[in-house]
Each structure stands twice: as C-alpha cells, then as structure tokens.
Amino acid sequence: MEQTIEKIATADHGHGIGHHEEHHHVETFINKYIFSQDHKMIARQFLFTGMIWAIIGGLFSVLFRVQLGWPDATFPALEQLFGNWFTDGKLDPNAYYMLVTMHGTIMVFFVLTAGLSGTFANFLIPLQIGARDMASGFINMLSYWFFFASSVVMFSSFFVSGGAASGGWTIYPPLSALPQASPGSGAGMTLWLISMTLFIGSTLMGGLNYVSTVLNLRTKGMDLFRMPLTVWALFFTAIIGILSFPVLVSGVVLLVFDRTLGTSFYLSDIYIAGKALSNSGGSPILFQHLFWFLGHPEVYIVILPAMGMVSEILATNSRKPIFGYKAMVFSILGITILGFIVWAHHMFMSGMNPFIGSVFTLFTLLIAIPSAVKVFNWLTTLWRGNIRLNSASLFSIGFVSVFISGGVTGIWLGNAIIDVQLHDTYFVVAHFHIVMGIAAFFGMFAGVYHWFPKMFGRFMNETLGYVHFFVSFIGSYIIFWPMHYLGMSGVPRRYYSFKEFQAFSQYDDLNKIISMGAIMVFIAQLLFVANFVYSIYRGRKMTKDNLNPWQSNTLEWTTDVEPGHGNWKGAIPTVYRWAYDYSKNPTGADFTPQNVPLTEEELANESKKH
C-alpha cells in the first residue's frame, strides 16, 4: 500500500493525489534501469536475461548434437573453446550428460518460464488491462532479482569441480542424491537445488503480483470477459505457478535433506561403490510424484502464455475477432485444471501402480479436448480473414502448425499402453520439444516481434524476421520430425552414443540430419539476436502519428511511443468493449479499439439482446 503511493508519486510528477506527503524521487540510473519498479523495465530485464540463457541453452544443445551427429569425428576447435568438457576433441560422457541436463533446466525454467511469462506477464498485464503498474512494484522487482540470483548460482555451477548437475533435468534420486553415483551429483547438484529454490521464490512473487493485478487493477469497464486472451492466459499461468511450484519446494527440500543429513525420504536399500548405505524406508518414486506434480503443470506454464499471445496476434493480423472467445477462455481454464491431475503420466513405467496408471491415462487424454478446441478456433479465426503476414503472424501460424504436430503425438504418449513402447525414447523427445519447446519459442518470438515497437519504440527488421521464421520453421521440422522415427525404432533418449547397441546404431543418417538442422536453427537464432540488439538502437522509429502500427484493439497501443512509469500520461482510458472488434462494421474501419465508446447502433443491439 505505502509502496503503491510512493510509486505513484514517483511516476506522477506534478499530479496531486490524495496521500501526498510523498516526495518526488529523482530517477537515477540505478532505480531506472537496475532496481527499477516499473513493470516495463522489469519485463525487459526478464527478456534480456532470458535471451542470454536461451543462447547458452541453445549452444549446449548444439554441442551435444555434434556428438550425436558425428560420433566418430573429433573437433579440436570445440576443445579450444570449451576446454575440459572435451578430451581429444571429443565430448566427454559426463560433460554430455551435464549439457543435456543443463539444456533442459535452462530452457524449461530460465527461458520458457522466466523469460517467457516473466517478460510478457510483466509487460502486457498492466498495459492491456489499463493499470499504472503491477499491484506491488517492489515485490515485482524482487521477483526479477531472485531470478537473477538464481541465474548466477546456476551459472556458477558450471565451474565447480565435477561440473553442473548431470542427472537429467528431472533430477531423479537416487542418482541426484548420491554424490558417488555421478560427478554431477556433487557440488553441481547442490547449486542446482539452491538455484531452483531461489527461482521458485521468484516465480511465486511474480505470480502473486500478476494474479492480484489482474483481479484488482483493471481499468473502468475492463470486465474479466473483456480482457484480451493474452491476459487470460498469463493469469492462469500465474495461478498454475502459485499452486505447483510450492510442491517442488517440498520435493527439493526433502532431497536436500537426503543429500546432507543422511535422511531416508527417497533412499532405501542402496548398495553403491562397494558400500551398503543405511538408508531405508524411503521411496524414489515419491520424488517423481512430487516432481511431476510441479513438472506437468510446468509445461502449461510454458505453453499457455504462448497460446494467449498467438490468439491475440492471429486475431489482429487476420482482422477477425478470435473465434469462440469464451470457449478459448474456458479451454485455458480446462487445461489449467486438468494440468494438475495428470502428473503421473510421466511415470507410467516407473514402477507405479498400474491401476492408478489407468486413471491417469483417462485424465491425460481429456486434455486433448480443450487443446483441440483451441486449434479449431485458431483455424476458424483464419478462415475468411484478411490475413496480414509479418514476422509476428508468421510465427503465430508456425505456432499453430507445430502445436498440431506436437499435440497429436501427445495422444500417443498419454495412453499408458503405448507408453510401454515409447517411454524414454526419442519419440518423447520429439513430442515435447515440438509441443512445448518449439511452440513456446514461436509464441515468444511472435510476441517479441509484435510488441517490440511498444517495448523499445522502434521496429525490428521484418525481412530478417522472415528469414528467421522460415529457417526456424523448416529447421524445427528437420530436427524433430525424424526423432519420431528414431523413437519408433526404439532408440532411447539420453544416450551418449549408440555404438554399443546393434539395434540403435543404424541411424547415423538421421542423427546427422538432426544435428545439421540444430546448427542451422541455432545460427538463425543468433541472427534474431543480432536483429533484436541492432533494432533497439538503430531500428526504424515508431512515430507519434502512428502509435498503433498493427491496428490493434488493445489498450497498450493507446499509450505514448515509449510510455513512462505510470503508462498513461493523462487519465487511464475507459474500456467499452471486448478486445476483438475487428471488421465488425462491414462498411467502417476494420478495427475498433477497446476504448472507443459503443455506437448508437451497437447500444441498440445490446439492449435488444437483454
């Protein structure tokens, strides 16, 4: 409360308000760019940090793809660059597992959770619902700095002896609990756990802020059912984060105890390195349950914001209202609820009770229904539209395509019986990379291209955007489509080399194609980063007479080119309609922003309805 008033006074130079014993803060470099409480600056901080992590995570994937694609070749150049991860020009198995683990951790948590929903929830929620800022700017700031601290801890884990965590991003004990089981389960694992605890703190603070902002700070007329779908999606994302991450806290705390105090939560009857341990009575499967209670909702944390943004961008660029707005909202709600009750479908083959497995199969396949509704609604939104193609809408269309391709294989894996064959094969890798990796990234790119002018007051280079899209789109299919075939051939994931096995060693061609695709896509992402950084400083400027470059209906385009802290200079616009009045009037303008009052004709129609 106090902070809000302070914050308000900070931003609002000169406008008198009720409680004004407050003083005008001077905007210094530190409180404007570093310890900023402005949601837009925090969003940019999340975006930059997320991008740096994405480059690191992507680079890791290139490194281990090099090993998988050319298992017999040596790469002295990589050894020069990455030192002790390579011996004699070949990736070390331990380093390989470390890279795989960190690629997963970084991408899932740091890029697609913090980088995606951290960026866009911060940026879009206040701007699109018509609020001056988040409910609590201070907690919002803390949320970023917890994330930053967590990043620093995770980054430092690359440099400890034994390297970073290497037990897979799911850190299943006992592998992660016993330092003698793997070099990465030593100090690296400890830092992983610390980093993740800080990260959960960050998500929690962010999530509480997003939820209370959406509920309490909407401008006049902004009913819940007038909110853009982005806000709905980010709202539910925040709810999922609030409810699922705490369970990971419990799981992580118990794992820390097992590692440090010799407790027996997850350990029982273990004989390792020639010694029988005294732990007994724990259950390794318990950790898997706790982990996936978070882990499954986590994939919706990753995909929902992308869905929201894509809905918004598709509607804007096809100049049509999103089809079935309420169905879209309820399908997000449905996905949220189902997301919490299906976690164990990751564990069908973990020794879980087969009876309970069947219940989880049932719940899991139910998720296909809201997902299908969303896909059909997007298609209908495009149908008979007037589709403008730019980088943002291309990535949105790409999103729908990969979401279909990755979504249908979910029906395979969700069915426990098929999972017997496909569990832990490349089929799984293909499925989740397409449906939550590539799709979420495409949503993120669409969002960046679409809101870049709002974030930085300049445009990105569209032509490079097209190149970025086409290479990424084709590349994604080159990388991940063949993985289905590997999976159907039984090739297991997380293998450093397939040479030992007759059955798995005959796919050199596919692995090479996949690796080349990965390198190509990675370079395309570097191009995007170059475009991004260049455009911040030298991109085409957004001008004052064209504040709404995409002719969009939502409120963020009613602000200045680069809105200051507080977003609107004058009064906050009042909202009279939902966010999707595109091409409503067959003769008039093809869009009607939310802050335009209803016409008399519309009023008459409204009253007729009631």
Partner: protein, 116 residues
Amino acid sequence: MSHGHILGDSEYKSQVSAVWKATLYMGIITIVEVVIALLWMNYLADSLPRLMLNVFFIVASALKAFFIIAEFMHLKYEKRALIISLAVPLVFLVWAIIAFSWEASAWFHMKGLVSP
C-alpha cells in the same frame, strides 16, 4: 473490508465474542481428541477398529481448521468469490492425497514381494 470504516461498539462486541466462542470450541475439540486417543490406547484398542478412530481425528481436525479459517482468518465474512478461489485449488490436493496413498499401498505390497 474497507479501511475508512471504524468498528462500532456492538459490532466490536459481537466479533470479540465470536472469537472467544471459536476458541472455546477448538479447546473442547482438542481435549476430546486427546482424551479419546488415551482411552483408545488404554481400553478400547481391542474393541474398536483403528480406522474409526482415525476418521474421528480427521473430522475433528477439519473442524478445528474450519474455525481457524472461518473465524480467526475471517474468511467467513469475505466475498464468496474469494472463498471459492481459495477452496477450489484444494480439490487438487484431495486427488493428490488419493493418488499418493494409492501409490503408497502399492509400494507396500511390492516390497512384500521379496521380503520374507
């Protein structure tokens, strides 16, 4: 609850008495719980199934939890929307409890497969 509003005397009295009443109930429930636990331990262990006792304990605790949430945390007097938004997520926990206990009994059964 708006801030400008200052409690009147009658409101104040009724609120304070509601709090004490809830305290009294909770105290009674706790005493009954402990007494029954001791009775069961000393006299009833053979005649009453343990399950019945456990159900009683769970119900009694839920009742105590209700008093804390409703009276002490004042939730009873808040908007229904808030109550629902807090209660609905707890359904996930119910499913979690069912699933985890189901699993635990399976582990128990599986361990029995090798232990003599």
